[in-house]
């Protein structure tokens, strides 16, 4: 039995362990566009904070793939699936055949269509380890950071860089932070706590102005919000 | 109060270097002695409320506490002790009878401590209890005059009902009401495991403890609390309480405030009524009346159980015992003046009655002289403190001993003698649920079993040392005793020689 898994995070790990509980012989191939050993995504903000490192972020130990008989094709993107031939075609032209295929690529950040965004030089999304590392490299003392979105990812990003001596501003369409999780009163408590850590908030904002293009965009969360 | 006549007797000494302010002393003191001051993060104590029960000391995890006798003194006076003076202050204040708990603490002679045991050497060998069988079993009850045989020469069973014990110790009468249910359960379970008996006291038998009936002596006291047919049938023996060593001649009084819930149900009296045990049984005014009650109880139980008559040790105890031995009772229990109590007037407890050692010796002697020693077994109580006291009591003539205070000490009692307040911090002499909880019968009964197992072993060692291998060979064996520091009269009454003779 040939198992192919596109994706290399929590779902992939769960799938590998479940498969191996039932089938110790079949081959497992994991295709991942990231070049890393499986890691815990929620920890990227803690990496920026210095509370963990790339080694401790690993979601399973180093021998995980070998111990479970998995072939890891990292740094490869799956571009097409041929269900008739039962093949996955990769970006480098190679193809991988399968008996069973699992697609678990997770979610991608939604970047709203903001006029002038294409001219912004330093902009990042904040979902992967590479995002966090790139952001970290780009930050300098006194950089001005604008975070679009005050949901979970926006605020975790803000927390992650809060100790880096940068000026953080966070904006959101909604009238309150963590709008899909908290009510007005508890949201206010969280906002106040973050403001004490020098994070500025502009909430309930609709309009866009493209005056400055030197802003560093730090985050664009998956559900979309808006910009100013 | 404007003039404080009474200075606290005890002081709580706290080592602040060791105190971690864990507050367990505060939480565990029913007298509210300790308090935590939040502002200064410090524990403080109000000495005036301390009764010296040691609950806080025993639970303090860093051993930061101790209780000392205050060194605040009256001028030295061999006649007017601080105690005598303070008692007058108390009575001047409240005009009441002084009440006390537990046994007589006054400085009267302890005869057990003036008796010494023998050991075998050279002329007759001692016995090693670890290598040779030792009989600690005793049978309590009337013994037949002589062996009887039938027409074919076989032995006729003319043995009246007996109590069979694995060792010559029983737990003495402590009523449910004076002590807690958990204490009773601990005693019952320990008696069952050890193969001995415990005594219900005058508070009746709680329905949950009927299952230990084979190890229970049911007591019929002057108040007749909890006495009904099933009660009598459930025990292994029935004890008629004529008197108690701690308070000879007077009755008992459990205040109505304590007669609630299960206590009221078990005693068969309405909640809130005072439980008064009258001084004489209202139907016993002579020895013939006692005989009548003995036989009523035997009739009621089909002559299947021995009847015990318990008396206090008073001046003419020998004559009283003689009368009881002829009344049909199977066992006489004598309670000496050191016996404990839940509450008694202080003056009665401290000044009435005689030492059990002297009472025992004179009763044993009188019954033997009258040729009726085998009509009864003798059980004695009233401060049996160790296995040595047990051996000495048996040597003086007892078939068995009762322990009360010693059993409670095993359960955690620290003899603070505040039982009458009902706030026993060890969960023994109280009915307050939050305090009774503190006596876990799973732990309590194990401690009692341990104590008795240790005593049994010690008794065997002492007997073995004397070259005796059974309790019955030790009973009344006055030659195994010698006295020290006793005068001629005491030696004569005890029936022993002085050491060196």
């Amino acid at each position: 039995m040939k198992y192919v898994i596109v994706g290399n995070s929590a779902a992939a790990v769960g799938a590998v362990e479940a498969i191996r509980r039932n089938d110790k012989e079949g081959s497992i191939t994991i295709i991942s566009d990231e070049k890393h050993h499986v890691y815990s995504r929620p920890l990227i903000s803690y990496l920026l904070l210095g509370k963990t490192d790339e080694n401790r972020m690993k979601y399973r130990d180093d021998g995980f793939y070998i111990d479970n008989g998995c072939e890891l094709l990292s740094g490869k993107t799956a571009v097409k699936i041929d269900p008739g031939e039962k093949r996955v075609i990769l970006d480098d032209g190679a193809s991988v055949s399968y008996d069973r295929l699992l697609l678990c690529t997770g979610s991608s950040p939604f970047v709203p269509p903001v006029p002038g965004l294409d001219k912004v030089k330093s902009k990042f999304t904040f979902t992967t380890l590479d995002d966090a590392k790139a952001l970290n490299d780009a930050l300098k003392e006194n950089s001005r950071v604008l975070i679009v979105g005050a949901g979970l990812i926006g605020l975790k990003c803000a927390e992650g860089i809060s100790k880096k001596k940068v000026k953080i501003t966070c904006i959101d369409l909604a009238p309150r932070v963590l709008s899909s999780i908290l009510d007005d009163e508890s949201s206010e408590i969280v906002k106040r706590h973050l403001e004490e850590h020098d994070i500025r908030f502009y909430l309930n904002r609709r309009s866009w102005s493209s005056k400055r293009t030197q802003h560093i965009w730090a985050i664009i969360p998956p559900y979309g919000s808006m910009c100013w | 109060m404007a003039v404080q006549y009474i200075y606290p007797e005890y002081e709580v000494v706290r080592n602040y270097d060791r105190c971690i302010a864990c507050r367990v002393c505060e939480r565990q003191c029913a007298n509210e002695v300790h308090e935590y001051l939040a502002d200064s993060n410090k524990m403080v104590a109000d000495d005036s409320k301390c009764v010296n029960c040691h609950r806080c000391v025993a639970l303090c995890p860093t051993r930061a506490l101790k209780i000392v006798k205050t060194d605040h003194t009256f001028k030295e006076n061999a006649n007017w002790s601080g105690k005598s003076i303070t008692e007058i202050y108390k009575q001047a204040e409240n005009g009441g009878v002084l009440l006390s708990s537990m046994g007589n603490p006054e400085n009267y002679p302890v005869y057990f401590d003036k008796l010494l045991l023998n050991a075998s050497q050279v002329t007759n060998p001692s016995i090693d209890p670890l290598r040779e069988p030792m009989e600690t079993r005793v049978f309590l009850g009337a013994k037949p005059e002589k062996i009887e045989r039938d027409e074919r020469g076989r032995l006729k069973n003319n043995l009246p009902p007996q109590i069979i014990l694995s060792m010559p110790v029983m737990f003495s009468a402590m009523s449910y009401g004076s002590i807690s249910y958990n204490a009773h359960e601990s005693l019952a379970r320990a008696a069952a495991e050890l193969g001995i008996l415990y005594n219900t006291g005058e508070g009746g038998l709680h329905e949950n403890l009927y299952k230990y009936g084979k190890h229970t002596i049911v007591q019929v006291a002057s108040g007749r609390f909890g006495v009904h047919k099933t009660y009598l049938d459930s025990g292994a023996a029935i004890e008629i309480k004529m008197g108690q060593g701690a308070k000879p001649g007077i009755g008992g009084h459990l205040p109505g405030a304590k007669i609630v819930g299960d206590i009221s149900k078990t005693r068969m009296i309405p909640e809130g009524t005072d439980a008064i045990s009258p001084a004489p049984h209202h139907d016993i005014y002579s020895i013939e009346d006692l005989r009548q009650l003995v036989f009523s109880l035997k009739e009621a139980t089909g002559y299947t159980k021995p009847v015990i008559v318990k008396i206090a040790a008073v001046h003419n105890v020998a004559a009283i015992a003689s009368g009881i031995a002829r009344s049909g009772a199977d066992i006489i229990a004598i309670d000496g003046f050191r016996g404990g109590t839940g509450a008694a007037p202080t003056r009665i407890r401290d000044h009435v009655g005689i030492p059990i050692e002297l009472a025992l010796a004179s009763v044993d002697k009188r019954l033997r002289e009258e040729g009726i020693r085998n009509n009864v077994s003798i059980v004695v109580g009233g401060s049996i403190r160790s296995s040595a006291d047990v051996v000495k009591a048996v040597a003086l003539g007892a078939d068995c001993v009762y322990i009360g205070t010693a059993a409670l000490i095993a359960l955690g009692c620290h003899l603070c003698r505040s039982c009458h307040t009902g706030k026993c911090n060890w969960g023994i002499a109280t009915q307050r649920e939050d305090l009774v909880k503190r006596l876990n019968p799973d732990l309590g009964y194990r401690r009692l079993v341990n104590l008795m197992t240790a005593w049994k072993h010690e008794i065997k060692e002492m007997m073995g040392g004397m070259g005796i291998n059974s309790i019955e060979a030790l009973r009344g064996n006055r030659l195994m005793l010698r006295g020290v520091g006793l005068n001629e009269k005491e030696l004569e009454i005890l029936g022993i020689k002085h050491a060196g003779e």
Binding site: S40 | N41, L59, P61, D434, K437
Partner: protein
Amino acid sequence: MKRVYVNEQWCLGCHLCEYYCAFASTNEKDMARALKDVKINPRIRIEEKDGISFAVSCRHCDEPLCVKSCITGALTKVNGIIMIDKNRCIGCYTCVLSCPYGAVYPSEDGAIQKCELCIKTHEGTPKCVTGCPNGAIVFEERGE
């Protein structure tokens, strides 16, 4: 597997288990020195109301919600005992939120702490069990 069980019939609410737990996680031999002027942060806590008290500590659940919620894998089940790797823990406190017994607590160093049956500190019976003065806390196998 042996677990710590509390019988509320005998719990006196004396809080000694909390102090013995706090002492057990220090390296001191003397409790007075270990806990003097220390505000304790024990892994077993007394809950009390209306005369009933009960000591709550990690149940080492067969289906541990804290382990499932841990984003770093710092909480794992080792031989049936739920253990914390403090080096991995980043103090997100998701486990504190998830535990249905409230038995996971923040610790002084930012990571979390919870009862680990005294495995890391010494052999044998957990200290809350030996420290309980009334036999309310036991350490036994109940076949669950």
